[in-house]
């Protein structure tokens, strides 16, 4: 069960897609990640109001708190950079775990109500002016996140089709959002600014203390992540195959959700829901290396998450210079279109290769072929036709091939 199964997953996955990147893209991935990380780290450390040229950074750090540049770099910029890296890595890994466990390319914390729940857990004591010790805050965030995610999965049922889970998640997220807005309406002006900035995911003015609060959770989450990665790559074969291989699918899925919650909630408690990183990072990892399994994607997804947050933090800090914009707004603006484009470029190749079904992006072969888990196994084309038939009381002719619509 622990052994990473080599590649039966690849035969089923998005492997032989029409537009898969060439071998070159795979070898470029480490270079690209490294370049992005280094460049954005340098920008994060050196640009800003006391401009510290890159070659003097080391000197500034060694000076410590004797010079202004030293103080700014060690006390403000380095913790911010570290926080961006850690938060991005956590979100990226959590996104991959969620997507693989639910076998759903759109299962992101934002759409499952996890982020909204965590935000609610953090914002409520702030508005209701309850004074709580700082150590409780991550616990509240975790409680909220587990509430949101659990509610979604409970309401949707675990083995349902991806879009059912997503729509349920959208409903739960909307309800939590409404509760949050009620809190915000009750808040006074100062609290309101604080909450609003926090809700968008901001990395400004975080210090070493905030980062120190993250470590205990990471100590729990990282070993669990390492343990669950091989199970994830079995899970994507479909529940029946996974159970035949000795994985208790439902239990594994719940464990994966718990890990994702433990990864997301502390990050959300510190810097707010930095939106859509958990969506973009796994898709980037997959696009660059479509034949690998979850074990290989996991570190890359974390790396991409770190890169995305670090890159987004640079314009967040500098774009509208005296005012800081929240990093979450930038990741939402850039992440969603990019992620959708990646998903479509992967999905279209697959759809063209497989049956002319409807399920292009949402129902790739691995979801369509094994979308029904506990019930009767259905064939994929049949499933697809039923999807179109679900379109409403009045129906289109069922046999229309969707591929032509893309061409038109």
């Amino acid at each position: 069960m622990r052994a990473p199964l080599p590649l039966p997953a690849a035969a089923d996955g998005p492997a032989a897609g029409g537009r898969r990147p060439s071998r070159g893209a795979r070898t470029w991935q480490p270079v690209l990640v490294a370049v992005l990380l280094v460049a954005s780290s340098l920008c994060a450390l050196s640009l800003g109001t006391p401009y510290v040229p890159p070659h003097r950074l080391a000197g500034a750090v060694l000076d410590g708190d004797t010079t202004l540049a030293g103080i700014v770099v060690t006390e403000l910029r380095v913790p911010r950079l570290v926080l961006a890296l850690v938060a991005g890595a956590c979100l990226g890994a959590a996104g991959l775990v969620l997507q693989e466990a639910l076998r759903n390319p759109l299962a992101v914390p934002e759409m499952l109500g996890v982020s909204s729940g965590a935000a609610l857990g953090v914002a409520a004591p702030l508005v209701l002016t309850l004074s709580l010790p700082a150590a409780v805050q991550p616990l509240l965030a975790i409680g909220g996140a587990a509430l949101g995610g659990g509610l979604t999965l409970l309401a949707a049922g675990l083995g349902r089709s991806p879009s059912a889970v997503l729509l349920t998640g959208a409903a739960v997220a909307a309800a939590l959002q409404a509760a949050l807005l009620v809190l915000m309406v009750m808040a006074d002006q100062l609290d309101l600014h604080l909450i609003y900035r926090y809700l968008l995911g901001s990395l400004s003015a975080r210090t070493w203390d905030d980062i120190a609060g993250l470590w205990p959770w990471l100590l729990v989450a990282v070993p669990a992540l390492v343990l669950c990665a091989p199970v994830l790559s079995v899970m994507r074969l479909g529940d029946e195959d996974a159970e035949a291989l000795g994985v208790r699918a439902h239990r594994a899925r719940l464990a994966a959700l718990a890990i994702a919650v433990v990864l997301i909630a502390p990050v959300t408690a510190v810097c707010g829901p930095v939106a859509w990183v958990g969506f973009l990072a796994p898709h980037l990892a997959r696009w660059f290396n479509p034949t690998a399994g979850a074990v290989r994607w996991l570190p890359w997804s974390a790396a991409w998450g770190a890169a995305v947050v670090t890159v987004a933090d640079v314009p967040a800090r500098l774009a509208l210079a005296p005012v800081e914009t929240p990093a979450g707004a930038w990741t939402a603006l850039l992440g969603v279109p990019a992620g959708v484009a990646l998903m479509r470029s992967g999905g279209r190749g697959r759809a063209a290769r497989s049956a002319p079904g409807v399920g292009k992006a949402l129902h790739g072969p691995r979801t369509a072929a094994s979308g029904v888990t506990d019930e009767v196994p259905r064939a994929a084309p049949d499933d697809a036709r039923r999807e179109e038939a679900g379109a409403g009381g009045t129906q289109p002719p069922p046999s229309r091939p969707t591929g032509t619509e893309d061409v038109r």
Binding site: A164, A174, Y196, L200, V336, V340
Partner: protein, 335 residues
């Protein structure tokens, strides 16, 4: 059918009555006095300058949203289309917020707000159109894409609000949708717009009913599909923009009320379009009355009068619950 209309109209009257007496300011007895021509100046002011326009605005906005939702669902043949999930509402919010932040519009020039909201709504719909392709694929997939578009537009709105934080307090209320503090100005702006586009939707009811049956049938019946659909979409966007400019983004009204209306009045839009308007008015007005009643409840931990429930929060929770029921009850469908 007439009986159903009568029943709904009676329900609307009841909701309106509850809404008029539900507020915190004065007791039902005083309201009765004012209606009979008595009451002191304050009571008269509260009744005629605050409660009446609020009631009318909530009725009008509900009707607008419901009609817009029904038109969208029919034109796109997608049961999950609605102003909220097709990017129209978030786009309209973005347009209005941007125009206010740039100083092009404000509460002193409400028409500009409506126009900006309209432009934004069109932009949001166009964005979804680009993203989801022809918009006629899998309905659930289009809805999911719509949620993504909403996320992008929400991010943009947030950026604008953070750059121009001056009116954050009032805008937040508006983001969730509230009828708090609506006065005659809002109503005077809402009704001509709603009447104009509502009449347009009414004229399109026949073609829309054909469009519900599918493009092929509509073509065979002699309808030129493309202009009809474009006009219908324009109508829906304009109605949504009017409602958003008046009360803000009321959650889920435009998505779920049309289903209710179709269930009650059938799929012939010539009947169910006015029906949807009525149902929407009832729902929003009733939710507003419930929200006002609930703000009278004593809440532990808060001083009295601080707890106000925006009507949008109530409709969002209600709609979320309904959506959950719908998703759970239709296991064979994919949404």
């Amino acid at each position: 059918m007439t009986r159903r209309f009568m029943a709904l109209a009676a329900l609307a009257v009841v909701c309106a009555g509850v809404e008029l007496v539900a507020g915190r300011g004065m007791s039902p007895g005083v309201v009765w006095d004012v209606v009979n021509g008595g009451g002191d100046a304050t009571a008269r002011h509260i009744f005629f300058q605050l409660r009446l326009p609020r009631l009318l605005v909530s009725l009008g906005a509900g009707a607008c949203l419901a009609v817009a939702g029904l038109v969208l669902q029919s034109a796109l043949r997608n049961p999950l289309a609605g102003p909220e999930v097709t990017g129209v509402t978030p786009g309209a919010v973005l347009g209005a917020v941007t125009a206010t932040a740039l100083g092009l519009a404000g509460w002193d020039s409400p028409l500009a707000v409506v126009l900006a909201a309209c432009t934004g709504g069109c932009a949001g719909a166009a964005l979804l159109w680009l993203l989801a392709g022809r918009g006629r694929g899998d309905p659930a997939q289009t809805a999911v894409h719509g949620v993504l578009v909403s996320a992008v537009l929400g991010g943009l709105t947030a950026m604008v609000l953070l750059v121009e934080p001056g009116e954050l307090g009032s805008v937040v209320q508006w983001l969730v949708g509230t009828t708090e503090g609506r006065v005659w100005q809002h109503w005077h702006l809402l009704w001509p717009w709603a009447l104009l586009w509502g009449a347009g939707a009414w004229l399109l009811a026949g073609p829309l009913t054909l469009l519900r049956c599918g493009d092929d049938i509509a073509l065979t019946a002699g309808l030129s599909v493309r202009p009809a659909r474009t006009l219908a979409l324009l109508c829906a966007v304009a109605l949504t923009a009017g409602a958003v400019a008046a009360v803000g983004a009321l959650g889920f009204v435009g998505l779920l009320v049309p289903h209710l209306a179709v269930a009650v009045f059938g799929a012939d839009l010539r009947v169910s379009l006015p029906g949807a308007a009525l149902v929407g008015a009832v729902v929003v007005c009733g939710a507003d009355a419930a929200a006002q009643l609930s703000s009278r409840l004593p809440v532990p931990g808060l001083d009295a009068g601080r707890f106000t429930l925006p009507v949008g929060a109530l409709t969002a929770c209600l709609g979320a619950a309904l959506l959950l029921v719908v998703v759970r009850r239709t296991p064979s469908r994919t949404f």
